[in-house]
């Protein structure tokens, strides 16, 4: 597997592991073919359909695996991305191989459908965790931390009072999560406000139609090699040195195509 990386902050494009198919992934969006144009399965020599298919690939984080040192070690990235994230991708591909109904959905659709309103189908865990980890790597950057600026900072101040208050609430959420899970900063569409969410295991705010802006992985495998059981240190280090407010800014800007956060700007003729 190549260790190609992107040095810019924005989510990287990556080639999608397609064996025998022309599916390419652009900016993380899967191109789905309508039923009629579904690519023909390649027939092997014996005339049977090939049973090798791949649906999702392991996307590389937008930085080298040692770029987050000393806050998140290369060893952790190797196990977390190369082990856990990789296994979720492989697991998902194996499951999709068996299930034609789910083929052709975008990742977000797949997550919502397999979440099944709280009675998740077996594919949910893998699908959601693939998405969660892609999102998580992109939520961090070397030289991260500090504070958001401009519109994002204003929105945080509006919804939490101050950045300090938001930070406290976020850290508290992370430290009071029981078991494995994630902590999120989300934008709630209808209410047009930001909120902090705690989710268990693989659940993410997409299932409630909220727009995630940033996340923190609180599964033990995310911090145990570097911090042992010292969750507080890990969470503080994340807030001080890892979280990418630049990416969160990009995400909230994109979200504003769907949510009007302020008064409409009517240009004067």
């Amino acid at each position: 597997m190549s260790w190609a990386c992107c040095s810019n902050i924005c989510p990287s494009t990556s080639n999608f592991l397609a064996i025998g198919y022309d599916l390419k992934r652009f900016n993380g969006n899967k191109v789905s073919f309508p039923q009629a144009q579904r690519p023909k399965r390649r027939l092997s020599k014996s005339g049977r359909e090939t049973d090798i298919c791949a649906y999702y690939g392991l996307k590389t984080p937008p930085y080298e695996l040692d770029a987050l040192e000393p806050y998140m070690s290369q060893k952790t990235l190797e196990k977390h991305w190369g082990g856990h994230h990789h296994n979720y991708v492989e697991g998902l591909n194996k499951q999709l191989e068996r299930n034609d109904v789910l083929y052709g959905l975008t990742m977000e659709e797949l997550i919502k459908v397999t979440y099944n309103n709280g009675n998740p189908l077996p594919e949910f865990n893998n699908a959601a965790q693939v998405w969660n980890h892609d999102f998580f790597w992109e939520s961090m950057q070397p030289g991260g931390g500090h504070q958001p600026v401009l519109g994002l900072l204003k929105q945080i101040e509006k919804d939490f009072g101050s950045f300090t208050n938001f930070r406290e609430k976020f850290i508290e959420a992370a430290l009071t999560l029981f078991g494995s899970g994630w902590v999120w900063l989300v934008l709630i569409k209808d209410e047009k406000r930001l909120a902090i969410r705690k989710t268990s295991n693989a659940i993410n705010p997409i299932v409630w139609d909220e727009i995630p802006l940033m996340s923190l992985d609180m599964w033990e495998h995310s911090y145990y090699l570097d911090y042992r059981n010292d969750k507080s240190k890990y969470v503080n280090v994340f807030m001080n040195h890892l979280v990418s407010w630049d990416v969160a800014m990009v995400r909230i800007v994109r979200a504003q195509a769907f949510v009007n956060l302020g008064e409409p700007n009517i240009p004067v003729a």
Partner: protein, 229 residues
Amino acid sequence: MAFRTLVTKTSLRSSFEQIRGIQTTPFTLPDLAYDYGALEPAISGEIMKLHHQKHHQTYVTNYNKALEQLDAAVSRSDSTSIAKLHAALKFNGGGHINHSIFWKNLAPVAEGGGEPPKGSIGDAIDTQFGSVEALVQKMNAEGAALQGSGWVWLGLDKELKRLVVETTANQDPLVSGGSNLVPLLGIDVWEHAYYLQYKNVRPDYLKNIWKVINWKFASEVYEKEFPKT
């Protein structure tokens, strides 16, 4: 001046307790019957030490804290606070219960760890699962498939009088699956139980832990429920 130095934090607390009549019987961290390194190479000494001194201790500390808060809420007849404490009590109390059993489920090889079960429990296993190997396979499969954090148990259903293999999430004790369930053997599959040594390869941890499983304890619990006539 002298009076002020007499009034320390602890004396204030105990006089406060006397006034309110609180019976605080805090739970404490039980000792292990073996050294931290005694279960190597199946489980490393580093993991055992962290697991016992940090994780289990934290559950005990937070359990006691939650119980104190519960006491206070009960005295105030504050139902909202009582309801809010349920999650913390279940999580931390469960953590204490589960880990206390876990330490007894393990033993160094020199003290019988890994030796196959004898007596009535051995017969029950053979009857219900075919063999100990088959039971181990089943428990390992369920343990490996568990998403997130939790435990895999060999339990005894007192009512149906049969052995069961169950999993519980997070720190839910086995009894949360049914009040008729008695835990005989529990394996912690939280990542902290194996990550430093086995990294993300949980199946390897599950394969190796059987080398230090203390069947004697499981057998004792089983025979207490079903004494030999």
